[in-house]
């Protein structure tokens, strides 16, 4: 941002920053919400990010594009929130380690594509299977809780979770063709 704003007057600089904010605020909040699962927390993260950007504008040189910088920063911050929660809940250190490793990998087009692909795959699952998988994956419910709620056997629950997992795992493994890459890159944002 430094280079871009160097010769601007304060007012001009502020207007540019406001445009940047207004263009990216909502998509960034949606993006962070998908990581955190909470809209209010997502808004906090994105607002903090912009407040920080503005405060440090003179000391910052952005090497990549503005947009990828914003998403990378938002992702990093969102994972910090997740990590802190995992620490506070005294969860298994496995989760903290995992979040840290995801954080270190950084923002990548590949990960965004993988999320797009998984979203498509989940959308194509039979509704019952999707519902059960969501309860397990997102809400962390035990097989028994899900079975009791749905009035089905634990084995049926396991079966559905496994089917969904298999479908997702399948799209994660094979290399993605360049054509697909192009399509998903276009459909993002």
């Amino acid at each position: 941002m430094k280079d871009q704003y160097r010769n601007d007057s304060e007012g001009e600089e502020r207007r540019r920053f406001e445009t940047l904010f207004k263009t990216h605020y909502a998509p960034l909040c949606n993006y962070v919400q998908a990581i955190l699962g909470d809209f209010d927390e997502a808004e906090d993260v994105v607002q903090e990010l912009f407040a920080h950007l503005w405060d440090d504008r003179k000391e910052r040189t952005i090497v990549s594009s503005e947009k990828s910088y914003l998403y990378a920063s938002a992702r990093y911050r969102a994972l910090n929130v997740l990590k802190h929660k995992a620490v506070m809940q005294r969860n298994n250190p496995l989760l903290v380690d995992f979040i840290e490793s995801v954080q270190q990998e950084g923002y990548s087009e590949e990960e965004e594509r993988a999320v797009e692909e998984i979203s498509r795959v989940i959308g194509e699952l039979p509704p019952r299977c999707r519902e059960i998988f969501t309860k397990s994956c997102l809400e962390g419910k035990s097989y028994k809780e899900i079975a009791d709620e749905a009035g089905i056997s634990i084995n049926t629950v396991k079966y559905h979770v496994k089917q969904a997992y298999k479908a997702i795992h399948a799209v994660l493994q094979p290399p993605i063709t360049p054509l697909l890459l192009l399509l998903s890159a276009k459909s993002r944002f």
Binding site: N30, G37, E48, L95
Partner: protein, 374 residues
């Protein structure tokens, strides 16, 4: 694909649950399996949540961002560090010249004043303590934030010697009395009680706010004294809020029956009833309420229903330990209804207020300025 480790998936997904009570031992899995499963859970979670969206108030968000930066970022960041481990990257952190965490949520802390005049600090260094006074065992658990009196024999202790548990601003503490009664003391509150309850009644003197779960004992009525008021109970659950600087005092009954006496009046209360005493007007009013909401502070939330802003702020000031300065007096009387999560940073509560009212806040060290936006 390799075998799907069904039990590892269930266990790993369950780790994120907030309500997970005790640690379930992990099933057998290789680190590679764990990583793979967590990766799918992470990406699938993003994929599922990514399909929902909502509208944002971008103008308001913009005002908050620009308002924040004027607060001198350092202060804001220090306060926000309570939830967020600040991620600094591609930039060099500035030298910090301010104190960290100016305003932070409260925690379990209290001091115990013994009849001898000795004052014992009950929190801070995390040191558990257990001692005896004339056969009464006093046990302090700093992790739970709880002081417990135990007595094998009802004749242990001295009924004329009083102890006082004092909770400062920004604190809360639980007190278990020898009869099995449990008392949760809110910030800036104190309870005075004898080393051993007398022959006629069980008396506790309260200042501030406390939630009581009184152990039943038909022979020995339990009495809570606050100001000129006395609440007499057999065995029941109720909350008393009686701060010296609050205009309205409230007694709220959750379960059982209590009798409130004071100013020559006696009022018998039924569950879900609240007696609100307006101390300036000197009038009281009995009404039906959702009593569980008034004890929500015990479980980590503050509940406000049609509270005057000033009254609400006093509650927050006691817990977060700050001082509010009003630039417009008109702000004080605005009414507000809602919840505040006690363990979230103060900014969360403030932003909630900013969103639902036209009040704007500015934080400087331990002071928050409130002004009304035109």
């Amino acid at each position: 694909m390799e075998k799907f480790n069904t039990s590892a998936w269930e266990w790993l997904a369950g780790m994120r649950r907030r309500d997970r009570r005790e640690a379930v031992p992990p099933p057998e899995m290789t680190p590679e399996e764990a990583r793979q499963l967590l990766r799918v859970q992470f990406l699938a979670g993003r994929a599922i949540r990514g399909t929902i969206a909502r509208g944002y108030n971008i103008e308001r968000a913009w005002r908050r961002v620009t308002g924040r930066r004027r607060r001198k970022a350092r202060v804001w960041w220090a306060a926000a560090a309570a939830v967020i481990i600040a991620g600094l990257f591609l930039s060099i952190p500035r030298e910090s010249d301010d104190k960290p965490a100016a305003i932070a949520p409260g925690s379990a802390k209290a001091e115990l004043l013994l009849s001898s005049g000795e004052v014992i600090s009950l929190a801070g260094h995390g040191e558990d303590r257990r001692w005896q006074a004339r056969g009464v065992i006093i046990d302090n658990d700093t992790v739970a934030g709880r002081l417990r009196y135990e007595s094998a024999d009802a004749n242990n202790g001295d009924a004329s010697r009083f102890h006082e548990l004092r909770v400062p601003r920004g604190g809360e503490y639980r007190l278990d009395l020898p009869d099995g009664t449990r008392v949760w003391l809110n910030s800036l509150s104190s309870a005075r009680f004898p080393e051993r309850f007398g022959e006629v009644s069980r008396d506790v003197y309260l200042r501030g706010e406390a939630y009581f779960e009184v152990a039943p004992d038909a022979r020995l009525p339990f009495r809570v004294h606050f100001g000129e008021q006395v609440i007499t109970v057999a065995g029941t659950r109720f909350n008393v809020s009686a701060y010296d600087d609050d205009d309205v005092w409230r007694a709220t009954l959750v379960e059982g029956a209590i009798r409130l006496s004071g100013n020559g009046q006696e009022i018998d209360m039924a569950p879900s009833e609240q007696y609100a005493l307006d101390r300036r007007a000197g009038v009281g009013r009995l009404e039906r309420v959702d009593a569980t909401l008034y004890i929500s502070w015990v479980e980590g939330r503050f509940y406000f229903r049609a509270y005057a802003f000033e009254e609400l702020v006093r509650k927050l000031e006691r817990w977060y330990d700050f001082q509010m300065i009003y630039l417009d007096d008109s702000v004080k009387s605005k009414r507000f209804t809602g919840f505040v999560d006690k363990h979230a940073p103060i900014e969360r509560a403030l932003s909630l207020l900013e969103m639902t009212t036209n009040i704007a806040f500015q934080i400087t060290d331990k002071t928050i300025t409130a002004r009304s936006l035109k």
